[in-house]
Amino acid sequence: MSQQAFSPAVAVARRDAGAPLWLLLTAGAPVLLVALPLAYVATRGAQAGPAVAVAEIFRPRTGELLVNTLLLAISVTALSTLIGVATAWCVERAALPGRRGWRVVCVLPLAVPAFVASFAWASLGPAFQTMGGAILILTLSHYPLVHLPVAAALRGMDPAFEDVARSLGRGGWRAFFEATLPQAAPALGAGALLVLTHMFAEFGALALLRVQTFTTAIFDSYQLEFDGETAALQSAVLLALALPAALLEMRLRRGLRFARSGKGAARRRPPVPLGRATWPALAGFSLLAALALGAPLMMLTYWLAVGSSAGRAIADLWPALGGSLGLALPGALVVTALGAPLALLATRHRGPFASFADKLPYVVHGLPGLVVALALVFFAIRFAPQAYQTAGLLFAAYAALFLPLAQSALRGSLELVPPRFEEVGRSLGRSGLGAFAWIVAPNILPGVGGALALLTLEIVRELTATLMLAPIGVRTLATEVWSHANEGRYAAAAPFAALLVAISAVPVYVFTRRADDLQDDP
């Protein structure tokens, strides 16, 4: 009959499946933010000119740093992979006595930040303040990053693959290497690359262990000459190492899925009996727990006991805790708010910009926090001097470092609300915004809560960017540990470190138990 009930002009301007303009604009802000470190290195490199750049990059000093950085990163990654796969297989597929308990124990080292573990070991003796010590300590604190995804892959995998391999004449070991491991390969690869990017980015632990790599060198250059060329050019070399690893990790993570053929639930499979290997396996797990958890915790306890006689530091504990939470809680809100449009774009409006905007933060996440902080200092003092030394600049750094955590937490819950739900809502008479408010929002609230909790925890543990960008006078648990431990005042550092570990342990424990409850055998 007629068309006057709606406005034709407005209606025609929008294309279907196209994202609304406001969403594109809000997604543009985080994209801009994460592009800063790349822009910083490019700009600073161009300012220095090719001659200076070449001279700096081919200094013998750079070569030393390169050897150290690569030696450390490759050794830790290889050892973490070995330990991570072995522990994952034992707790998921083998009849290891007490496997439920070991599942939690294997992951708990994540609760001890690497710089805290390093301080504990360093306080044990100078023998650990070497490259060998650094490889040992960082492996012990990073193998869970391989263990977790591989264990999840083994748990989610259809045991039929291995059964088929066995039926085709493969022995137990060959079935594992030819049927099981290839299935877990994307998870394994993503975990290993995550360790690698962490190694390229690690700063606090290496500074405390007195091992010279690019990150510690960049920090020293930055302290010697504020906003200098050397720091920028060393950052460029570090980026050249970290960027491919970050890109590859992101690609692998995208492809993560556990193929199942056919409908129906995967059958459970009885765990493989370990036989004579039971006792050696238990001994191995005990040794691992003693080194990764026991040693740092024991040293912390020791220094707490020594320090409590001094009695000084306890009074500083509350301001530091307040400082941590004062940065972490608003920081988590800011990062979640910035991550929301990216997650919405990625799940609701596929397209070249959406996919670029969605992926870029994952790449920057793999870049060293130190370089991100340097980039923000560089741009702040040039374009927004009033922002320098404010919490806002630090929140920007947190956003660059932690956006992917917010994105994946939000996307996980957004994916549980397929666009079809909104369509049904609209067919029942709700407007686009109404459908979002009544259908999408109630279903993603748990995801938002999870994102906030996770980000708060990560920001409390964050050292490097906080150290460089926190407003003058703000002290956090992490910066207090670092400054005391860096000057050898181990007893003074211990209370802050202990509180940090206690705060971290709760969510790590809860996440592991939850994963355990979701799919557990009796």
Binding site: M1, S2, Q3, A5, F6, P8, A11, V12, R14, R15, D16, A17, L416, P418, R420, F421, E423, V424, G425, R426, S427, L428, G429, R430, S431, G432, G434, W438, I439, P442, N443
Partner: protein, 343 residues
Amino acid sequence: MTTVDIVGARKSHGAREVLSGVDLAASDGAVTALLGPSGCGKTTLLRLIAGFDRLDAGEIALGGRVVSGPTAHLPPEKRRIGYVPQEGALFPHLSVAGNVGFGLTRAERRGPRIAETLALVGVSELAARYPHELSGGQQQRVALARALAPRPDVVLLDEPFNGLDLDLRRAVSEEVMAALRKTGASAILVSHDPEEAFASADIVAVMDKGCIAQAAPPETVYAAPASAAVARITGPTIFLDATMRDGRAETALGVLPTRPDPGCRDGAARLCLRPEQIVTVASGEGRAGKVTVRSFRGDHCVLTVAFGDLALPVRAPASMAIGPDEPVHVAVMGPGVAFSGAL
């Protein structure tokens, strides 16, 4: 309770044209099935009618009022449609009553409408349950109730029974369509299952390669398909090489009668038969052939019968005791449909 008129609807996803000029008229209160293979554009057409996507060209009118056209697009919430997607898509955070009440006003929600609609689809006792506590069939019924509660003019069903097991599927689809008919709403059902489409719909619109190839009552579409493609989409078919002469087809099974529509000129042709048209007869009648394979199917058996170079599947009673290499006589019942051009 309204008509749906689609004229020249076109739609591309990127460079791929999904709908290339669809014309379809669904009359008031009728159930129309969109039947076609996957990728033929039937779901795209349904989403255009619902208003979830926009037309590139053409026009869609509901009850005579243009809702999608070159200059206008009425948003889905203003179209008075009911939508039942695949797998139901019940809101997981709402109970059954909450889901069914979603499209109602606050006042209506307090009234008897929710209970009424639940009773209509036969799931009154489930009102307090949550979607994850329902079986697949129950979810589909609730999804229909949710769509019917606001008394829509047109109900759109997008392969709603796809997720169900085959035996459950027949029962649920029968009950759901019966409940739908009680409301008198017009309905458009997307399906790739001819049996479901025939059982549910007044008009079956067969879609192929982005167009409606034929829209007619189920019996017509099955017995007199407009093209070879329609014949294949609407059920099992057997094509015989034929030569047309004066409206009769000369084939390896003899000279056979053909339907006058869609009509076929003299010369080389393909004769389309349905498997049940080829039957075994007493010896001496029909054509003699030789059984090569006998395949038992429970309530019947299928014989592969060779006539020289030609091998045809022939349905026979399960009790028929016949083995390979034995002779059998076969006849064709009823007219076939001839299409010009050789196989």
